[in-house]
């Protein structure tokens, strides 16, 4: 049974539709990510789960129970915002005990619970500090401890790492991922950063323009995107026009066996990730037009024989390649993904 679910939920603001007929089931203990460009409705979806917005149509359920019209304070959700929104009029410990206090947990118990969480998050020495004096990373942990202290039904994280610098983000991402795994708390993680979502979430829902485009595990989303939008939003994708006939994919300049039986017959789009383009030898020649040195590797753009652009990833050992050079490449049938829907 799914722990938290949005069933055919639509949310309208005046004339705009922020969330359009979206259904997401989050399993018990699962970390579900929602990604999408800004304005895609992901934050609205989170606010519908929390209860800060009421759906225009559809149902929000916790454990199968309809909570659509229950106000947020009675839903028991743990919420961590981008700014953490710590209460500056209270100490760190008071911040963490605030939730249990509101739930009429006894003084002793809420203190114990808070101390336990502070210890778990390795910030027990900050207990008596004022949140204003803490660093961004510390504030985030306090925010997390405060949200977890009410033993929430679901933990909602709204872009919790956006304000941090890149290095810290990486450390915290690992820690947070580990913590969410250990605690087995059902989590909804909203971010525009698809890399974060890929590394931390069990499943990801990709949203665009209020619609749910695809929902699946990170590898499903990356390797088998449902449509061009998902392919383009998650990572870098080459989208090439092809014709498919009799299990044969024809690029115009080369042909491949289709990766398994195809439903599409005729013209279609296939996706190839840059790292799946084999460079060195192969039937196709690409004229390199741009090179971007990226440290670990070199990203290159080239022109295929029919003039379509192709992004590929070069090993650093190919560092002497310059623009204007031609490289031989090949596609592996297993690495190409036929996009069925054009949405």
């Amino acid at each position: 049974m799914s722990e938290v679910s949005l069933d055919n939920v639509t949310k309208r603001f005046d004339s705009t539709v922020a969330v359009n007929d979206v259904s997401i089931d989050i399993d018990d203990g699962e970390v579900m990510g929602i990604v999408g460009p800004s304005g895609c409705g992901k934050t609205t979806a989170l606010r519908l789960v929390a209860g800060f917005e009421t759906v225009s149509e559809g149902t929000v359920r916790y454990d199968g129970e309809d909570v659509t019209h229950i106000p947020p304070e009675n839903r028991n959700v743990g919420l961590v915002f981008q700014s953490y929104a710590l209460f500056n009029n209270m100490t760190v410990l008071q911040n963490v005990t605030f939730g249990p206090k509101m739930h009429d947990v006894g003084k002793e118990e809420r203190r114990d619970r808070a101390c336990e969480l502070l210890e778990l998050l390795d910030i027990e020495e900050l207990a008596d500090r004022n949140p204003k004096t803490l660093s961004g990373g510390q504030q985030q942990r306090v925010g997390l401890a405060r949200a977890l202290a009410i033993e929430p039904h679901i933990l909602l994280l709204d872009e919790p790492m956006t304000g941090l610098d890149a290095k810290l983000k990486q450390t915290l991402r690992q820690e947070l991922g580990q913590l969410l795994d250990d605690l087995e708390v059902t989590t909804l993680y909203v971010t525009h950063d698809q890399e974060q979502a890929m590394s931390m979430c069990d499943r990801i829902a990709v949203m665009n323009d209020g619609h749910l485009e695809q929902i699946g595990t990170p590898s499903e989303i990356y390797e088998q995107p449902a449509n061009e939008f998902v392919a383009g939003f998650i990572g870098t994708a080459n989208l090439l026009e092809v014709t498919i006939e009799d299990e044969q994919v024809s690029f115009g300049f080369t042909e491949l066996d289709a990766p398994g039986p195809q439903r599409v017959d005729g013209t279609a789009t296939v996706m190839i990730r840059p790292d799946d383009v084999r460079v060195g030898e192969g039937p196709v020649s690409v004229e390199i037009t741009n090179l971007f040195y990226q440290g670990e590797h070199i990203q290159a753009t080239g022109l295929l024989p029919d003039g379509q652009k192709l992004t590929l990833r070069l090993d650093r050992s190919l560092g002497d390649v310059t623009t204007g050079d031609s490289l031989s490449i090949a596609f592996d049938p297993d690495d190409i993904h036929v996009i069925e829907s054009t949405r």
């Binding site: 209860g51 800060f52 019209h69 947020p72």
Partner: protein
């Protein structure tokens, strides 16, 4: 027509019922929010009605009253007096030109001062700011006293000039003249104008100014073509509020008496025979004029208004 009437009244009553429902048993978060907004605005509204709207309404009613002390009948006699009597026309004229002149003077001083505060690095800036904002806390009667200290019969300036020129100090003193009143007005108005303009100045995009300078504009051209358009909404807003301040000054003129302005005449109506109806008519005219022109200016300009 009757059915129309019924349908409108049912619609109105059903709308009223929905409103009541939203406030008593809200079901969505937006309805709960509406309930919160209403309850947050309620105390202020009560105060506004009880100590603002109701007394002002009563004031307007008595100004149309035929009876002297109770609201009875209807007459426009007191307004006719204001319109026809040259005495009152003169008072109105005095009030307007004087408030306009002092507004222009105050803004004229406040713009360069705000400019200096924002652009120049000044020594002891916090002291300067305190001095410039201090008069904002002073009532008009104290501003009047400040002018007496400077330009009164025993004033510092008066006696200094008398000492140098050998004239009698009473010939030089101008604190109770129009000029003295002018200085007393701007004593209150400059700090107020400054307060408003500093907020505007703080938002000026300095990058654009520097770009203009780097393109060869002189400081005056930069001010004229880059800074001025940016501070314009704030400048208009400041003019309105300072002008309002100027129209409302009473204590200052009560002491210095340099010019017979509207507020002083209102007091005289009360002092000379407690003519509350005439005073109310004058206060009503004042209120309607200022309210109307504020609303108009807010509507048709980009003026930014804050205290």
């Amino acid at each position: 027509m009757a059915t129309d009437h019924v349908s409108i009244s049912t619609r109105v009553s059903s709308a009223a019922r929905t409103t009541v429902e939203v406030l008593t048993s809200p079901s969505s978060e937006r309805q709960r929010e509406i309930r919160r907004i209403v309850s947050l605005c309620l105390p202020f509204t009560v105060l506004l009605l009880f100590s603002g709207v109701f007394p002002l309404t009563e004031m307007v009613r008595i100004s149309f009253s035929e009876s002297r002390l109770v609201t009875e009948g209807f007459t426009t006699e007191f307004y006719m007096t204001l319109v026809t009597d040259p005495y009152y026309r003169n008072v109105a004229f005095n009030t307007l030109w004087f408030a306009a002149a002092t507004t222009v003077a105050s803004i004229g001083v406040a713009v360069p001062v705000a400019h200096a505060l924002e652009k120049y690095s000044l020594p002891a800036k916090s002291v300067i700011l305190t001095v410039l904002s201090f008069p904002n806390s002073l009532p008009g009667i104290v501003a009047a006293f400040m002018i007496i200290i400077l330009f009164g019969n025993t004033g510092v300036f008066t006696n200094a000039v008398a000492f140098i020129s050998g004239q009698s100090s009473t010939d030089i003193a101008f604190s109770t003249g129009v000029l003295g009143l002018f200085f007393a007005y701007i004593y209150s108005m400059i700090p107020r104008a400054l307060l408003l303009l500093r907020g505007t100045y703080a938002e000026v995009n300095t990058d654009a100014e520097e770009a203009a300078r780097s393109l060869g504009a002189t400081p005056l051209q930069t001010f004229r073509f880059v800074t001025l358009p940016q501070i314009k909404p704030g400048l208009i807003g400041a003019c309105i509020l300072v002008f309002r301040t100027g129209l409302a000054i009473f204590g200052t003129v009560l002491i210095l008496k340099g010019l017979l302005v509207w507020t002083l005449q209102i007091d005289r109506e009360l002092a000379q025979g407690f003519n509350i109806a005439q005073a109310s008519a004058m206060a009503t005219v004042w209120f309607v004029f200022v309210f109307g022109f504020t609303v108009l200016v807010l509507r048709y300009t980009t003026a930014e208004v804050s205290i």
